[in-house]
């Protein structure tokens, strides 16, 4: 193998599995250390810089970081990253004074955002401090998008939502509520804006056109529309027996909301077996804790109407052939079953819909009627019109919408200054040694064997009293303190200098997880099997050093299970290994493309990756 190019910023960034998996590249280990030190306000601000809504995301983030977390490979369960984020948000001090300052004198550029969801709000958060005047048009009477209209208050309290959205609006955003945009052409022609950002989401819930659908209409609801009506108080009850069709995250919110509106018997109907469910494991657990029944292998067939009213639904009973790799290779219907119901909620997906964008104004759509958007710049085929969030590439989640907002902000800033959109500021990684003295390192490197802490919940009796009682209570101080110690400090990197190594094997012998090997170089496949412990997790790269001076062999590190304990550096007589804290500077609007490094920092740089980046979770 070629010696690993550690000067590429992706190299050390990838080692920090959580930060690499986070669409917004939140500096997770840094904020977990701050929480461990009781510095909750600073921890909150580290979060806010990249994810903008730490209090919200600390409750409802999709958490792509957790399946990626190294702790999940070393032990079984990942660090409770998301719950710690909430802990910092709940225990911080007032942060207003720490927020980015907005200049009184504006830069003369006016930006319009369509929709007041998290994508638009992030864009405003990034552009207001640079002197832009941002106007947000929102069709509803309150800002927040799906975070307000669809995510139920028992998961995300309104007070948290209001406070974090308020931090952005108070920068002086011109928010126009109850103002649906009905024609983009009109806005382009008469609005007087320098750039337009479309953050209107994916607002159309999919329907299920089966026999009886029309006759049963009064008791068949589209999930996201129904949740919205509940959020705005237009709907406050539901029948006793409810069937939810679909088993994604929307279905989980629908079933739990139904229980709070008077339903007694709620069944979630799934077409396939459990391993194919779209909902996150924790959302399924929370629903099942509330005694929602999940029925598998039932494919909807017809709505049954009796006496002009919905009586229930019939389903095909399915059977599947599943091969060794877990794929479905065949399916058949083995019977039919009737389930009685007073109401049915459809939660089978969302789509984009842009009836208000004229098709002759230079914005191209593809065959599925989705706008063509550049995955790096977020610009549409019409200059000056940008998309982000669910509106750009279909429904995703909050943290992706936030990152889209950040990237679109970079583009709009460059666009307004007349700079190239593709020549963007690049991510940089800086490194600083953590060695303090003999046997002393500036980070807590003991390995804590503590298992993942569980967040306490409000009792099953208590939580249904009102619709907006938050179910999760958040960690206690003791739990938070213990959980922080489970973090492996992946950002404190093992940095190797081949020139210094005398091949004494001290590091190889001491490594508690057998990650290091000094051996003859070879092709990757063969080398992986020849290491002290075979490197079977291909999603984790090998580090291969330059040839060592005495024998020409190479130092190989399998990054997979390294717990960043620093023992290799501690045992090395020549300091060929050092523990250095990496800091990933993920670019935001207004960042200088090539800032000078600070003293003692080593810099590595590379290209922006954009949306094509894939992250494989560990095995």
């Amino acid at each position: 193998m070629q010696p690993t190019d550690t000067s590429h910023p992706d190299y050390f960034h990838r080692v920090v599995d959580c930060q690499w998996a986070c669409p917004a590249h939140t500096d997770v280990p840094e904020y977990i250390r701050l929480i461990a030190q009781g510095r909750f306000t600073e921890a909150y601000m580290v979060n806010r810089r990249s994810n903008v809504f730490p209090g919200i995301l600390g409750r409802v983030c999709d958490r792509p970081c957790e399946p990626a977390c190294r702790r999940g490979r070393v032990e079984r369960k990942p660090v409770a990253i998301c719950r710690l984020k909430r802990y910092a948000a709940d225990h911080r001090d007032e942060v207003r004074a720490l927020l980015p300052k907005v200049p009184r004198v504006k830069n003369g550029h006016r930006i319009a955002c369509i929709g007041a969801g998290c994508a638009s709000l992030t864009l405003a958060n990034d552009l207001m401090p640079l002197g832009y005047e941002v106007t947000i048009f929102e069709q509803h009477g309150a800002p927040g998008g799906l975070m307000r209209t669809n995510i139920p208050a028992f998961r995300l309290p309104q007070s948290v939502l209001d406070e974090e959205i308020g931090m952005i609006l108070d920068m002086g955003v011109d928010l126009r509520l109850d103002t649906p945009i009905r024609s983009l052409r009109a806005l382009l022609e008469d609005g007087g804006f320098d750039a337009i950002f479309i953050g209107s989401g994916a607002p159309r819930g999919k329907d299920l056109l089966l026999p009886g659908r029309e006759e049963a209409a009064a008791n068949v609801h589209i999930g996201i529309t129904w949740l919205e009506s509940v959020a705005f108080g237009h709907v406050d009850r539901i029948g006793e027996r409810v069937l939810i069709i679909g088993v994604g995250n929307t279905a989980m919110d629908c079933c739990r909301t139904s229980l709070r509106l008077g339903a007694r018997d709620v069944k979630v109907m799934a077409r396939k077996p459990r391993q194919f469910f779209k909902a996150s494991e924790w959302e399924l657990e929370d629903a099942e804790e509330e005694r929602v029944q999940i029925v598998v292998n039932r494919s909807p067939k017809a709505f049954v109407v009796r006496d002009g009213r919905l009586a229930g639904m019939t389903f095909d009973v399915m059977e599947y052939d599943i091969d060794a790799s877990g794929r479905i290779t065949g399916e058949r219907v083995t019977g039919e079953e009737f389930f009685p119901a007073d109401d049915v909620i459809l939660a089978i997906g969302q789509e984009n819909a842009f009836p208000w964008i004229e098709r002759d104004i230079g914005i191209e759509f593809d065959a599925r009627d989705v706008p063509k958007v550049d995955p790096v710049t977020f610009q549409s085929t019409r200059e000056g019109v940008f998309f982000g969030g669910d509106a750009a590439f279909g429904p995703k989640n909050i943290i992706w919408a936030v990152e889209h907002g950040h990237q679109a902000a970079i583009s709009i800033d460059r666009y307004c200054r007349g700079e190239s959109l593709t020549d963007r500021p690049r991510p940089r990684v800086t490194l600083q040694s953590r060695k303090m003295g003999i046997h002393e390192w500036a980070y807590a490197n003991e390995y804590s064997p503590v298992e993942r802490r569980l967040v306490p919940h409000v009792s099953l009796k208590e939580r249904f009293r009102k619709i907006d009682i938050e179910v999760e209570l958040g960690f206690t101080a003791e739990q938070a303190a213990e959980e922080t110690q489970r973090c492996l400090n992946c950002d404190v990197q093992t940095v190797f200098d081949a020139k210094l190594c005398i091949e004494c094997d001290a590091c190889v012998d001491i490594c508690p997880v057998d990650c290091l090997t000094i051996t003859e170089n070879g092709p990757e496949d063969e080398l992986r099997m020849r290491l002290k412990a075979p490197a079977l997790n291909r999603s984790q790269p090998l580090f291969v050093s330059a040839p060592l001076r005495q024998t020409g062999r190479v130092m190989v590190k399998d990054e997979n299970l390294c717990v960043h304990c620093g023992l290799c550096a501690e045992r090395c007589p020549t300091a060929a290994w050092d523990m250095q804290k990496s800091h990933v500077h993920w670019p935001h609007a207004g960042d200088v493309p090539e800032p000078a490094p600070r003293r003692g920092e080593r810099v590595s740089e590379g290209r922006v990756k954009g949306d094509e980046r894939t992250v494989e979770a560990g095995v």
Binding site: C504, Q550, L567
Partner: protein
């Protein structure tokens, strides 16, 4: 030394041996040696060898004298037995223990100072008696523990860290053991586990005295320019004469050896050593020729390594003395003590 203990992490893929134990189960206390000391690598090789042989930890007896090297018995197989003798006296303790119970695995760890200076006499007699043990010399050319004085293995012309030159000729434990009739004589290097681990395994399985002289650089007092026992010097002047692969009785010989190139030798317990000659004309079964070849390389300033001499299935200490097969602690008291009358009868033989 390190103050941070090596954390115990039971990650799911740790390999297990026939007893269901992982390598971690064969480790010992935290090493207090200098970071980078060759002795720590030898400890790691012993851990690997014992784990791979699936020795029951409680059947391992660790014996040593005084020195950095002799401290290392604390750093492996913490579930075994151990005795840290006074300087140079490990062989007599080993002899006593072995006489009392022949069914345990005896591993002696000593230094060049401990063995070749103060303990030279004891060392020679343990070889003569063909005590059934593995004797490892962690050879660094200095007294590490007392801050780097030349030891009896220092080469003529070798420079101390402070600059003085050694003028006295060295004692070579390998040549010495060959003259004393040793049946398993090897030399290796702490930086070459691929060679060292099978040698340790073969030595543990060998019936009789097995010597491995392991070049083990003292990173603090003898790893400088001008030293003949530094990492760099050893690597430059290191020649493998015979590589020995160890294959336990229950395992198949997996690698194909072409005839003439490799010589498989079956040991008393059915395990095999496959000897591969790497230096032409070297014969590890001819004691006299081996001695000559080793001396020739020495004159050229080279370390010849590998299993330098091997002769299987000879009579060990217990066979020669005709002593009991039963460990003394299991012999019934009546049998162990002849009683007054029996003692009288015995003494009468010498009157």
């Amino acid at each position: 030394m390190t103050f941070i203990p090596k954390p115990r992490i039971d990650h799911p893929n740790l390999p297990r041996n026939a007893l269901g134990l992982t390598r971690r189960d064969y480790e010992g206390a935290l090493s207090t040696l200098c970071a980078g000391c060759g002795h720590d690598s030898i400890t790691a090789a012993i851990v690997e060898a014992c784990w791979d042989l699936a020795l029951r930890p409680e059947t391992v007896v660790k014996l040593s004298g005084i020195g950095c090297s002799s401290k290392t018995t604390a750093y492996f197989v913490s579930r075994g037995h151990g005795f840290n003798a006074v300087h140079g006296r490990m062989p007599s303790i080993a002899t006593g223990a072995n006489a009392a119970n022949r069914h345990l695995h005896y591993i002696g760890v000593s230094g060049d100072g401990d063995t070749l200076s103060i303990g030279l006499g004891q060392f020679c007699h343990a070889i003569r008696r063909n005590l059934n043990m593995l004797y490892i010399i962690e050879n660094n050319g200095v007294y590490g523990l007392t801050k780097g004085q030349f030891s009896a293995s220092a080469d003529v012309g070798s420079k101390a860290k402070k600059g003085e030159t050694n003028l006295q000729p060295p004692i070579d434990p390998v040549l010495l053991a060959l003259t004393l009739g040793a049946s398993f004589v090897a030399r290796s290097f702490s930086g070459d586990k691929r060679q060292l681990v099978p040698l340790i395994q073969a030595g543990l399985r060998h019936k009789g005295f097995a010597l491995i002289d392991v070049l083990s650089p003292c990173v603090t007092f003898n790893d400088h320019e001008g030293s003949t026992k530094s990492y760099a010097y050893t690597r430059e002047h290191y020649e493998v004469a015979v590589h020995a692969d160890f294959i336990p009785a229950e395992r198949e010989i997996a690698v194909e050896y072409s005839a003439g190139e490799a010589l498989p030798v079956t040991m008393h317990d059915g395990s095999r050593i496959v000897l591969r000659k790497l230096a032409e004309d070297y014969d590890p079964t001819d004691r006299i020729a081996a001695m000559a070849a080793i001396q020739e390389h020495m004159r050229a300033g080279e370390y010849l390594t590998g299993l330098l001499y091997f002769e299987p299935s000879n009579r060990e200490f217990h066979d020669i003395c005709g002593t009991t097969d039963v460990p003394l602690n299991s012999v019934p008291y009546e049998q162990l003590s002849p009683g007054k009358a029996g003692l009288e009868k015995l003494l009468a033989r010498y009157r």
